[in-house]
Amino acid sequence: MDGAPVTTTRRDLFRYAAASGALVIVAPLAACSRRAEDAAGVREAQSSAIGPFVIINSDETIQIAFPNPEMGQGVDTALPMIVAEELGADFDKVSVVQMPLELIRGEDGEITWKYIAQGSGGSYSIVGRWDGLRQAGAVARELLIAAAAQEWDAPTGEITVEKGVLRHAASGRETTFGAVADIAATLTPPTEAPLKPREEFSLIGTPQKMKNARAIVTGEAIYGIDAEVPGMTHAVMARCPYFDGTALRVDDSAARAVPGVIDVVKVDRPPHGGPYDVQAEGYAVVAENTWAAMKGREALNIEWDHGPFADESTASFKAHCEELLQGEGQIVRNDGDLAGAFANAATTHEAYYWQPYVSHAPLEPQNCVADVRDDEIYIIGPMQFPSSANRAVAAKLGRDRLSIKVDITRLGGGFGRRLSSDYAVEAAVISDAVRRPVKLLWTREDDMRHDFYRPSGMHHLRACFDANGDMTGWAHRLASASKYYRRPNLPETEYWKAELYQDDFPAQLVDNLQMEYFSAKSGAPRGSWRAPAHTANAFVVQSFLDEIAHERGEDPLALRLRILGDSRDLTYENHGGPTFNPGRLAAVLRLAADRGGYGAPMAPGRGRGIAAHFTFGGYVAQVVDVEIGDDGTLRVPRVVAAVDVGTVVNPNGIAAQLESGVNDGLSTALRLAISVEGGRVITGNFNTYQLMRIAEAPPEIETHIIDNGDPPAGMGEMGLPPLAAALANAIFQANGKRIRELPIDDQLRA
């Protein structure tokens, strides 16, 4: 922000600062409440002081800061749109800038946000910043109006604003933002500014291109891996490949002899069974450049023990899950009388499904710059929750959080991996040891073998129908290794909460329903992967529905629609709650079916499948077309989606995220699995973790939006969950093969 003096000394008051013709506005925002932001380590602040910035330059250009890290989800454009709408700015004249992480110590001594919450995750950026950024824009607009009113000696109520121009119709006068910005900067901001009614929106809801596109296509965009500080050294680490293993012997003499190598530093492993501050024990080779550090690492001679999970493999974990499902688990939801429903059923249905571990694999591998000094620490890197990095580094090195400055870069993908701050902690430990600034780089193999994987598990589904054809019973049994584990004060009886969402469809839509969880043991680290367990559960539930429909001789769409029923609010305590409206899910199903030509006769070898899911407040249905060759070659020529995420800020961004979800979902379903052997991950790079390339991507993806003016939901994740099921359902129609295990890999070639 060019050194503009943006400071707050008291909360709950608007502040202003004039700096070289620029108007900087800091507005208080309504309290943001969100459970998931606990992950940031920042306590929830009611009425905390906050403020997105608006800078208006005398040349009519406007700079708007976006508070949340940008990882491809489009907040660098969508969040400034919210401010610009209320401000009445000409968006073509707006440039955007990443707001640095700003933390303060609150009056109660706890660390909190200085202006506004600043994490990206849970499809929450739009939802969480919506009210505050609108207010910030509105306050700025009111100040500009007040400035014009003062100039013209006109009542503020008679002045209108449109695209950076202020008008007073009665006197026929008009001026621009830039012309009155310096006066506005001297005025006392109002304590409250009126918000535009939705009917007056002229920017929100219009398709806008990404503001940073030019920087990206010219190679100028700065990612974590591009960050530099003076005197910086480079480090790569050899981490223990075995889950929770440790080094038996370390000989670093050859590594130290590599030209350019400065030092070798040990990073201790996290405590067995305890929270992951870092991922594994490791030895960092610090060097003058990246290549020397890599060569130094190769020269390390380390003998690792194989750790407490030495016998674990993908096959053994699968067998473990199968065995668990033979017994009785933890009943985590129990509606009605399931046994009674099955005893009285006219028809019953049953299937098992398997989901592998998958890796986040953001294309920018993990990296972080740390400069640890006696009295201050500087961190810069690609993080979804930079405040988490601040907290984690403070905890690891025993520093005051406010002595640690964290800067945010653009992220080369996140997908949930960068909710964790392990790489920032590693970088800080290394810099602390060598007392020089360090850029820690993970290679691709490091990234893939030391991920927090999307949990793997086996699902057992059962359903029953009565003689009238109504679904009377549903049971979802899941044996998996939960991502909720190794957390302080979290008993194993709570592990299910991250893997089975108790209010997910068809809960509350069938009288007799059970969800049963089996906590499987695995040494593989687990974490949040885009749309976390929704990816697994939507595949399973939406595939099983298709199976049921075919077994019953009923159309799969019709079956869904009659289970969903009419529009009404049901309780939903998971992501995107507190309500779930099955009528909205039915509406996107109908729209996708209509636009996707669902139900039309298909040629041999072709299929058209449908699936839908509710995630993080958003409703998405997808119709997937497949063509399967005689040799089993699968092609997806077209995907048609319908989306209801409430009020849409940037329809272009919605479409982009939907396309991303489709391609991510397809890539994952086709070929992606992390393989474990001998207590370690063996999959290590893109030659064995084969992400989809352009040849397999659908050439046509259509996004149809329903916007009924409901409160906005995000769009980062909900495009993904229905895809694998819609794909599998299309495959079944094409050739009768039911996909119950992911990835599909060569199953169609059998």
Binding site: E220, S660, A697
Partner: protein, 153 residues
Amino acid sequence: MKLTINGQTFDYAGDPDMPLLWYLRDEAGFKGVKFGCGIAQCGACTVHLNGRATRSCVLPVSAAEGADITTIEGLADGETLHPVQEAWIEEDVAQCGYCQAGQIMAFAALLEENPNPTDEDIDSGLTNICRCGTYTRMRKAIHRAAALRRGEA
């Protein structure tokens, strides 16, 4: 050794085995060239070597001596963007954007050999990875870039 990058000459006396990628990023400061896999799988590190798309993560810097090296920073003609860059903006391709420099370099080279690529040419000629899944827009941008380059758009 002497290296010619984006028309500038650089002297380098370090390890000749250093991959060109790391030379470009750490030594010469061309950070638009990205590291993604280190085994020539993803293409994030794609640069032009005498006009040919080359994955710089597996090429020793010594092998680039004497060649004309172009990175994403040198693709535009001053402020005038290359048609592929232009098309990428027009179709709003990028999401996280990390792979896009490599994608653009790969396609800009392909376009020199084949000014009118079909979808099949794209499928067989472009194998860079985009983790965000921008392929659908990328395909549109590729056709637009080809048209721009032919002066049709």
